[in-house]
């Protein structure tokens, strides 16, 4: 009987056919959501209104990934949420089935395969790369070496005008107290190779905007990572007369979305030179502040936008001297909530609430520019629903975003993009190696001493022969 290991069990998962290999599950239990490439069998399963991602993976990796995802969650790092592991799943033909790792499907996540596709704007690409770099740097800050940075292992979500990136595959990850430079460099090295492969693959499949050069994209990622890392952790030295550079550094980090929890400031004996280095920085400067004030859980740039609106609201309603928390509550009930209430229920799956609010603000700004007047928030909301939202695809469970990209081509397996598209007339070539391997007997668990002695003897013979050849 299968065994469930879970911190937050969902009893609706129990009756699913765990004793069947995941690749053979009946399709009525699955949803064919777009997703990245994978080496393992990965399927999205639907229970009630919830969708989970299931990955069939050998035991020690399942345990490892489950634990790491928990660790990332505790640290507040953007990653998919681990739900549980199903082990002891029984056997097919005497071969036991690998465990299944369950994570919660990340709502509103956008599959990268459609994000870089023809028609995409250079600015969008740039923002996707930035989001990726921020994610990697955040992971490195907490001592996490990913070991498999790739487009397939990252999920993107809208974040105001930009994107937020989430980690989805922690299987190769390692959590250390602190990363060495070599470990970070190695991670970036792996990222470069993987991303180059990802972009070249998109290109080969006609899924990459023509103007984009894979090699250049990869170099951009590397150089941006270096810049960001330097800003986050680098030492800055200046003379005693430039004390404002301390505050500037903190402001720059805040603007990048990071809080400085510990700044190391050293002065030399005669106070001539000052040396500063951020020791502990935490991501989520704006989202934490918004969460504290309003309880809203948003991405960093959404938070920035909402906080700006909150500031404007405070000023406009003449509450400059009222406590910030009080104004925030007021803003929530008189600005944010009414906009949400004005969104028809059937359209709410198209965008996250904070993203909708951000887009309404944008809509209002353009309308105000166009009509040279101040537009009330609710009026803008109705206009936005009518002109924008109703035509957008559903992004909560992003079913059709992929559709325009594949057009006349058909995935070999609608549940697994790793197999590529159907192509005509393909007979696999004969593989001498594989045929040979099939003929080999099962290896014994014991050490084959006879083989060992034979090998040693052959080696000694070869050595003697080559020596005989060398000495004429």
């Amino acid at each position: 009987m299968p065994r469930f290991i879970s911190a937050k069990p969902d009893s609706r998962l129990l009756p699913l056919p765990w004793e069947t290999p995941l690749a053979e599950w009946p399709v009525n239990l699955l949803v064919a959501l777009p997703r990245g490439l994978s080496r393992h069998v990965v399927r999205f399963i639907k229970v009630g209104d919830d969708v989970y991602a299931a990955k069939e993976v050998i035991d020690h990796l399942a345990q490892h990934e489950y634990r790491l995802l928990h660790a990332l969650m505790r640290q507040g790092t953007p990653a998919v949420e681990p739900v549980g592991i199903i082990t002891e799943r029984g056997a097919v033909d005497g071969v036991p089935l690998d465990p299944i790792l369950i994570t919660r499907h990340l709502e509103f996540s956008l599959p990268y395969r459609s994000l870089f596709s023809p028609g995409v704007r250079q600015e969008t690409v740039s923002r996707l790369l930035d989001a990726m770099v921020v994610l990697v740097a955040r992971l490195h800050l907490i001592g996490f070496k990913w070991g498999d940075v790739s487009l397939s292992n990252i999920l993107f979500r809208r974040d105001a005008d930009t994107f937020a990136a989430y980690l989805v595959d922690a299987e190769t990850g390692e959590l250390h107290a602190r990363l060495t430079r070599g470990q970070r460099e190695h991670d970036i090295d792996i990222a470069r190779t993987n991303l180059l492969g990802d972009f070249l693959d998109l290109q080969a499949g006609g899924l990459l905007q023509e103007k984009l050069d894979p090699l250049r994209l990869v170099d951009m990622v590397t150089s941006r990572y270096r810049e960001l890392w330097n800003e986050l952790t680098g030492v800055e030295e200046f003379s005693g007369g430039e004390l404002d550079r301390i505050e500037n550094r903190v402001r720059r980090l805040n603007a990048l979305g990071f809080d400085v929890a510990e700044l190391d400031i050293q002065t030399d004996a005669d106070q001539e030179t000052i040396r500063i280095q951020p020791m502990v920085v935490d991501a989520g400067h704006h989202s934490r502040r918004l969460m504290r004030l309003t309880g809203l859980d948003t991405e960093e740039n959404q938070a920035r936008r909402l906080l700006n609106d909150l500031d404007t609201y405070r000023w406009r309603t003449g509450q400059a001297h009222v406590d910030e928390a009080v104004v925030a509550h007021d803003w929530l009930t008189h600005s944010f909530q009414p906009v949400m209430n004005a969104i028809p229920a059937e359209l709410r799956a198209k965008r996250e609430p904070a993203q909708i609010f951000h887009e309404v603000l944008d809509y209002r700004w353009y309308q105000a520019q166009r009509e040279c007047r101040e537009v009330p928030l609710l009026e803008a909301t109705h206009g936005y629903v009518r002109d924008v939202l109703s035509d957008l695809p559903d992004e909560e469970l992003n079913l059709d975003v992929l559709a325009p990209v594949v057009e006349d081509r058909q995935l070999v397996n609608p549940y697994d993009p790793s197999m590529g598209y159907v192509e005509a007339g393909e007979e696999p070539p004969v593989d001498a190696w594989e045929n040979q391997a099939d003929d080999q007997p099962e290896a014994s668990p014991f050490l084959d001493l006879a083989a060992l002695r034979a090998r040693a003897a052959a080696k000694a013979r070869a050595k003697a022969e080559s020596e005989a050849r060398d000495t004429p």
Binding site: R39, G182, Q183, H186, E423, P428, W433, A443, L447, R453
Partner: protein, 363 residues
């Protein structure tokens, strides 16, 4: 291609009071396949990671060829970590899947193609080069992944438990393939595994580690025939060597009611010991009239061999009595192996260890 040398290389992790790798001295020859093996936590991965540039070296040096790489970043060391990640891209051909990373190193197209073709020949993948990878089997995918490392032509291959994520059957096949490939390529390789059978079947030489300390480096056969200390004796071999402790008596060691004779030379070296441990491999035991008394519990036939799983009897020492003894005998003894029997040890295949120093005393 190059040799690799660790000299007094030490790694102490932050917040740890003892070294994970303690003054490692290891010379790996040009083109050699060196396997690091040992129980979990012994420091083998840390050693490999120091060589890769992923862990700091707190003291000591590491050289690749005659270059001191101790402080170089990983990408400047001309090494390749194999099997870390081997995603295959569905829209690219097998050839492109193998060769694309060379684009980052500005290798000209003609040379890229040449290197890919050469690797494909080595891997038996020539006929697949223009195919898409979707129809490849697990084993073929592994080979494409190896190809990706081969085309880079690094000075050293590093592999950390590369087979641990494969199922049992693929593991055995891949093991053979890697060893054969390495031999043909002749690229210096450092390979980490906790599995001694894997280590012994693959390595030109095997370095056994325990608690951060190198125990012995030798060819598989030498490790098997002449383990240098008690740890190596117990660790190498499957089924494991029988290690039987007994007090020194005149002419040998007392085991139960039997005195196992030992040579004068060995006993002379044991002047600081009151008791010794005798190691006897299962195949060095035969059922006989005279010998160590055991109770046979299970008889198992595997091919031409019969394995007797038994327990020592007749000792007054509680800790020794009941110890498991495994013997591998030829099949003709089968009829007699039940109840209490005596096992005679081949006197030319005895391994004698000092209990005081754990070191080998016999030749």
């Amino acid at each position: 291609m190059a040799n690799v040398s660790f000299s007094d290389a030490t790694r102490i992790y932050p917040n740890s009071d003892h070294p994970a790798v303690d003054r490692l001295n290891l010379e790996i020859g040009d083109g050699e396949f060196m396997v690091l093996v040992g129980p979990s936590g012994c420091g083998k991965s840390t050693s490999l990671r120091m060589l890769a540039g992923l862990e700091e070296v707190n003291s000591g040096r590491i050289l690749i060829g005659d270059r001191d790489v101790t402080d170089l970043p990983p990408k400047d060391r001309d090494i390749a970590m194999v099997f870390q990640n081997y995603a295959l891209y569905p829209h690219m051909t097998v050839a492109d899947n193998m060769g694309f990373a060379l684009k980052m190193q500005n290798v000209p197209k003609a040379e890229r193609q040449e290197r890919v073709l050469e690797a494909a020949k080595l891997l038996g993948l020539e006929d697949f080069l223009s195919r898409k990878p979707k129809a490849l089997s697990g084993g073929q995918r592994q080979r494409v992944a190896m190809g990706r490392a081969i085309v880079r032509q690094p000075q050293v291959f590093l592999m950390d438990e590369p087979l641990s994520n494969l199922d049992a059957k693929l593991r055995v096949a891949t093991r053979t393939q890697i060893a054969a490939l390495q031999q043909r390529l002749g690229v210096t390789t450092v390979y980490v595994t906790h599995d001694q059978v894997e280590a012994m079947t693959m390595g030109d030489r095997v370095a056994v580690m325990k608690d951060g300390l190198l125990q012995q480096v030798a060819s598989p056969l030498e490790l098997y025939d002449r383990p240098g200390n008690l740890f190596v004796a117990g660790f190498i071999g499957s089924p494991a060597m029988n290690l039987i402790e007994g007090p020194i008596v005149s002419g040998g060691v007392q085991i139960g009611d039997y005195i196992l004779p030992l040579s004068r030379e060995v006993l002379a070296k044991a002047s600081n010991d009151t008791s010794l441990t005798v190691g006897i491999r299962p195949e060095a035991l035969e059922v006989a009239e005279q010998g160590i008394a055991v109770n046979v519990n299970i008889v198992e036939e595997l091919g031409a061999d019969t394995y007797l799983y038994s327990t020592l009897v007749g000792s007054t020492d509680q800790s020794v009595d009941g110890q498991q003894i495994v013997a591998r005998t030829s099949a003709r003894h089968k009829g007699r192996s039940s109840g209490t029997v005596r096992l005679a040890a081949d006197p030319t295949q005895l391994h004698v260890f000092s209990n005081a120093t754990q070191e080998r005393l016999s030749d």
